[in-house]
């Protein structure tokens, strides 16, 4: 339902554009590690802006804890932007670290990595987006890839670890 409510476009354009960007970055930056870093940075910059649209259009209410936040990212966030759903697993005991698992990922349609790209986290922009978006709602996180289908795994698995919850700086009130 959430996906039906946003303006949608042909995914091929998105997938091929992302692929062309990664390819150009590999040419321009030369080092795979640097490409990983820049993809993460680009994602972060996107995330800090995308969160506004997410909050405006998703109608989700304030999450009570990190568990709920992770569920919302997986079920609502991925659906709203990429049209796919993810699931949340592997919670640690104190509820500050979990995995977001993705079986279907439009970023990697038609993608195959050549041997020269060993070490590339092709989808690193995604982890950046999550980190950036969460930072805007006062959660400092560390997001890392545990499994990657382009590296031969059967799924994509992103570990999201809550480092700290920053108290909100301004004494603003919620409108409602």
């Amino acid at each position: 339902a959430i996906f039906a409510s946003v303006e949608r476009v042909n995914a091929e354009l998105f997938t091929l554009t992302y692929g062309a960007i990664v390819r150009q970055l590999l040419t321009d930056l030369e080092e795979v590690d640097e490409v990983n870093k820049q993809l993460d940075q680009m994602g972060y910059n996107i995330g800090i802006r995308l969160i506004d649209e997410f909050l405006a259009k998703s109608n989700v209410t304030r999450c009570v804890d990190f568990r709920e936040t992770a569920e919302v990212i997986a079920k609502v966030g991925f659906k709203m932007f990429l049209g796919v759903t993810a699931s949340v697993t592997n919670w640690d005991a104190d509820g500050t670290c979990c995995s977001i698992v993705l079986e279907d990922n439009p970023l990697v349609d038609f993608v195959e990595l050549p041997d020269t790209c060993q070490g590339l986290y092709y989808c690193n922009i995604l982890s950046g987006v999550i980190r950036g978006a969460l930072e805007m709602v006062s959660m400092k996180t560390e997001v890392t890839w545990l499994r990657d289908m382009l590296r031969g795994d059967d799924i994509f698995e992103l570990q999201v670890k809550l480092l700290k919850q920053v108290p909100e700086e301004y004494p603003y009130k919620d409108d409602e």
Partner: protein, 171 residues
């Protein structure tokens, strides 16, 4: 119906790609940044036109290929056709989109920075916007090149929100 993603995914990615190239990788070399952004567009256009023409007979002339860009190709990307096509019949074609989607949000985005002297601000906004045009220009050049038509493509935004793409086919 093929797979879809939200339009904001594409827009965010393009805005961030342009800003990374202009402000981080080649901050002091705008012409290099422009060339890289165009190259990314070229790659995308090349691949898209490959996919969209798979089940079609070859185009018999340049005009037919250009019409394909105006109709089918544009519709796939922007869900609308080019509004006006002009040609001088000597290898130059002007494709006008009366409301070019990728600029509709851009004009709003660049305004907050126009705080300095207004002329300076306008120049900056115009420059930022022109950076965003290298990508669609590259897409058109890539698409036509895949159809065997080498050309140069530039954009004219003097009548916003309309945008005209000028294609000069190389003899």
């Amino acid at each position: 119906m093929g797979r879809e993603v939200s339009e904001s995914c594409v827009e965010s990615l393009l805005i961030e790609m342009v800003s990374s190239y202009c402000n981080r990788f080649y901050a002091d070399k705008p012409e290099l940044a422009a060339r890289r952004i165009e190259a990314i567009g070229y790659q995308v256009g090349h691949q898209l036109s490959e996919r969209y023409t798979m089940e079609r007979p070859r185009f018999i002339d340049h005009l037919e290929a250009i019409k394909f860009i105006c109709k089918d190709f544009w519709s796939e990307i922007f869900k609308k056709q080019i509004d006006n096509l002009k040609t001088n019949h000597r290898g130059t074609f002007v494709l006008q989109d009366n409301r070019f989607r990728w600029l509709s949000r851009m004009s709003i985005e660049s305004s907050p920075e126009t705080t300095g002297s207004s002329q300076d601000g306008e120049d900056k906004a115009a420059q930022a916007m022109s950076m965003h045009l290298y990508f669609p220009c590259g897409i058109i050049r890539g698409a036509l090149s895949n159809l065997g038509i080498p050309c140069a493509v530039s954009a004219d935004i003097s009548h916003l929100p309309a945008c005209s793409f000028v294609i000069r086919i190389k003899a």
